[in-house]
């Protein structure tokens, strides 16, 4: 067993896909065919850009549906999806699709709302560059020492990115801590919903499981 935990971090370059939506139906159609990287991007980019504050919608789809289409109920439903229930982007995509399709069915016959000019939804995605921070832990105390020193982006990589994009059921931290025999701490981390915290709050919360 490899008992060294290597802390990685990531940096991103954002790309436009060229796909844009003006109506809910267009959003739905693009959502069905756009790459998984784009679904991931629009459910995480705003969270990452504003990782120091809590915001109403970190999900770009929900934010756009609320702001530009004024479909507030639908926006709340989309935003209300529990991200921790999903380990595959394909399943997450299907959950969004189902909610929007049901909404369109309920509104059948009604004229569809259009986003005002300049407020189109632009599908983007990110190219991620992953690299080692140079920080490594060989024991649980070392792990928590490193955790206090890593950048918010490194924390983001191990908790969010690795779980959903690498399709692990839990965060990198929980996997390693379980291997190291700290099952209690690992389970507490696994039960956390990291999306409701700022990254600094998340770091403090995880650290408290060790200190507490």
């Amino acid at each position: 067993m490899n008992n060294i935990f290597r802390f990685y971090t990531e940096r991103r370059l954002v790309e436009a896909t060229g796909l844009r939506a003006v109506t809910l139906r267009e959003l739905l159609n693009h959502m069905k065919k756009v790459g998984g990287a784009s679904i991931f991007y629009h459910t995480h980019a705003s969270f990452l850009e504003h990782h120091f504050v809590r915001q109403r919608f970190y999900n770009d789809f929900a934010a756009w549906i609320s702001r530009s289409l004024q479909e507030h109920k639908l926006a709340e439903q989309i935003a209300g999806i529990d991200m921790m229930d999903y380990t595959r982007i394909a399943d997450l995509r299907n959950a969004f699709i189902e909610i929007i399709q049901n909404h369109l069915l309920e509104r059948k016959g009604e004229r569809s709302r259009k986003a005002p000019p300049g407020e189109e939804f632009h599908f983007c995605k990110a190219k991620n560059f992953i690299f080692a921070t140079g920080l490594e832990a060989r024991s649980i105390p070392e792990f928590f020492h490193c955790l206090s020193a890593i950048s918010p982006l490194s924390l983001y990589y191990h908790v969010f990115e690795s779980r959903l994009r690498l399709q692990r059921t839990t965060s990198d931290f929980s996997v390693w801590l379980t291997d190291m025999g700290a099952r209690d701490i690992a389970e507490k981390i696994s039960r956390l919903d990291p999306y409701v915290f700022t990254l600094e709050e998340l770091r403090q919360r995880i650290t408290s499981f060790y200190n507490g």
Binding site: R11, A16, E49, F52, Q55, C124, K127, I130
Partner: protein, 408 residues
Amino acid sequence: MSVSIEAYRPIVGTQFIDELYKIAEHINERSIQHINSTPVGGGVAEILHRLVPLTNELGVKATWDVIKGSEEFFNVTKAFHNALHGSDDEITDDMFEIFRETTRDNLATMNLYGDVIMIHDPQPAGLIAKKNEIGRKWAWRCHIDVSRPNKKLWEFLREYVVQYDASVFSMPDFSQQLPITQFLITPSIDPLADKNKDLEQSFIDSILEKYALDPDRPIITQISRYDRLKDPVGVIQAYKIVKKRYDVQLVLAGGGASDDPEGAAVLQEVQEMGGGDPDVKVLLLPAYSDKEINALQRASTVVLQKSIKEGFGLTVTEAMWKRKPVIGGATGGIRKQIIDGVTGYLVHSVEGTARRIIDILNDPEHAEIIAGNGFEHVRNNFLLTRHLKDYMLVMIALERDGSDMIEL
């Protein structure tokens, strides 16, 4: 005078600067050659002046060359610039011919040697003709708002753009239907430039004195060109609503309008509206007033950017960097920078603007929290060092396959 990368360490954090060095290591001796159309003046030259030495300091060879062109050529490219912004300027076939001719001249005389050649804006875009002969990786970096471009002109430029390995736009709204990769790299501000660096209080005081502003009463400021799209008239209307019950001062400050008849008309209208009120200062600042603008922003209680249409809105970024509560028109890049009620306030009307000014005046503690969030947002996302990082990542991305996850 070039500023060392180390000067940014206390600002953006040591981890970020260390990461820049790490990313630079992965560029493996490859060089980047920037090419634009002017060595001075304009945002692009301003950025390159800082970015090129910083890139070199990280160990990545970066150079900067400028194309040559006649006055006639630059008149054509100015018309191109306006037409890409969506103006009605007529674009003629003669203009295209002048563009082609200057491109041919530059192709014959310029040395194109970078491993990555980054071409900034439309003026040098035709240099891509050399790609077949010399290879290399080519990126077209478009700084202009091309969300509603003149169709005829875009079709002409597109022929060049599609030959590049990648394009770079500033916002998703500016991206196009293209067969090549479109990276999105938002603009940035330099925290150490005259416009943004910390200032001595004595200098700020001297500027207040110069313009007869009272430091003991709230100051509302909008810094921008006298252009209808920036809605300076709406700013005065909002001020007048606030002024009924609050003893505030208003500063509208913008650059020259000598070659812009529309701008001169707007300026006159604004002066007439503010006329007679000693608490309204309508300032026409000369070029190179960066330090004065900085001082005015720092002396402000509230900063407005009540635009009706906006590309990115760097004045919003600048004000947030100075920890000022910002009220911005809900349009373009302002929406990207301001989360309403979190990093600033978004407004759609004169009344909404006045309402938010009053909120800020009545609850300075909450305004300070919002201003602090705005500052963090800029620190994390819109500083020059992030721009530097993005350009290096573009260099790496151009060498790697199309994968979305690249392990360095």
